[in-house]
Amino acid sequence: MSLVQTQNLTKIYGKGETAVTALNRINVQVAAAEFVAIMGPSGCGKSTLLYLIGGLDRPTDGRVIIDGQALEGLADQGLTELRRRKIGFVFQFFNLIPVLTAVENAALPLTLDGVPIKEARIRATEWLQRVGLGDRLRSRPDQLSGGQQQRVAIARALVAEPALVLADEPTGNLDTRASDEVAGLLRQVANTWGRAVVMVTHDPRIAAYADRIIFLKDGTMVDESRLTPATAETTAMWPGR
């Protein structure tokens, strides 16, 4: 069974003659531990799709099902709880709290959910170590590079052990090298740590880290393609491991 499923997902902004269809009957599925990229020109609806999957916005029509649970049946409080426990979010501008240390930032979803502070800090520390920031636990965001801040954000997204991580242009504010590190880390989130990752990006280089790409245009899905396995030519052209 798919972890994420959308059925005829539609979002229309405005009414009457000024109505704009941002998403038009989108049907996508994401399996557990799968890394999926959503691509398309700006204004194609890719961020809207991500926000609807994450329950940050409500559809005009159609539905989103996360781990067997239809989001439409949930009141705001239930939706908030589902987001906190099943979904981790990573944003373009990191969205870390400036006055908190890396550990405090990464622990936030747990402390908000009522987990005792001591336990929350232990779990946050573990995730920060896994993303390679074991030596920056007490640093505040302004003492970290962009790539490091995004890694704190990824640790924060994973700290509640969600099954799904949603990333909106996670490398949009990073240089090439940090972008590669963050994309490689997201790949690890899926491949090593078994979380499904859905990432919106406009950057082909970053999208290529994913297992599958969903192409959107003008709110419609134009194609959906697996990137694995590689073609025979590529395998022949490049030396093996």
Partner: protein, 195 residues
């Protein structure tokens, strides 16, 4: 061409014999798998370089096996090498099969150009995914040659993908233009024009 100068450069580093040159070349480019040079090519290149006066036989190494001739670079060789270093290299100009495919698709008019473009896009993304995964498997400290080569491949694929986006974005504009037709010239002697 580049193998010749690579050999010259490796001899500028220190005198070597043919077998050693071949191994040194492979080490520099990141392995035999990336760029294999056959022993015969190394020896043929060495004798051509010797004829040109760019390298000279320095001596013979006597070992347990057959004797090995050791080569060194000459002053003329060093000059030629320096000239090579400080001159530009024209990018490899490839006839692009996809470009031809797209133009023919537009000419025949019975296929969907957008589908042709999307098929190519997915193909390129699969290539890009494969090299990206491979790049991650490399050790940045010990496999720098491979990493640099693969980065070049990644950047070329990125450029091709960007170009596809641009072509797709301008497809309607292209389709509105008259398709290129050759100027057909009448064969044989031009007809006399009646005045």
């Amino acid at each position: 061409m580049s193998v010749r100068y690579a050999i010259l450069g490796l001899l500028a580093q220190k005198p070597r014999h043919g077998y050693e040159l071949r191994s040194a070349f492979h080490a520099v480019v990141g392995g035999e798998e990336t760029w294999n040079v056959k022993p015969a090519q190394v020896y043929a290149t060495l004798s051509r370089l010797a004829e040109a006066g760019w390298v000279a036989e320095e001596g013979v190494e006597q070992g347990s096996g057959p004797e090995k001739r050791i080569y060194d670079i000459t002053p003329q060789g060093r000059q030629a090498l320096e000239q090579w270093f400080y001159s530009g290299v024209a990018p490899e100009h490839q006839r692009d099969e996809f470009f031809v495919k797209l133009m023919i698709a537009l000419v025949t008019g019975d296929v969907q150009p957008r589908r042709v473009i999307q098929t190519q896009r997915v193909f390129l993304y699969r290539e890009l995914h494969a090299v990206t995964v491979l790049r991650q498997s490399y050790n940045l400290r010990t496999q720098l040659a491979q990493v640099l080569m693969i980065d070049k491949a990644i950047m070329h694929l990125e450029a091709d993908l960007r170009w596809l986006d641009m072509v797709e974005g301008r497809l309607e504009e292209i389709q509105r233009q008259p398709l290129p037709e050759p100027d057909i010239r009448p064969r044989g002697r031009p007809r006399k024009v009646e005045v």
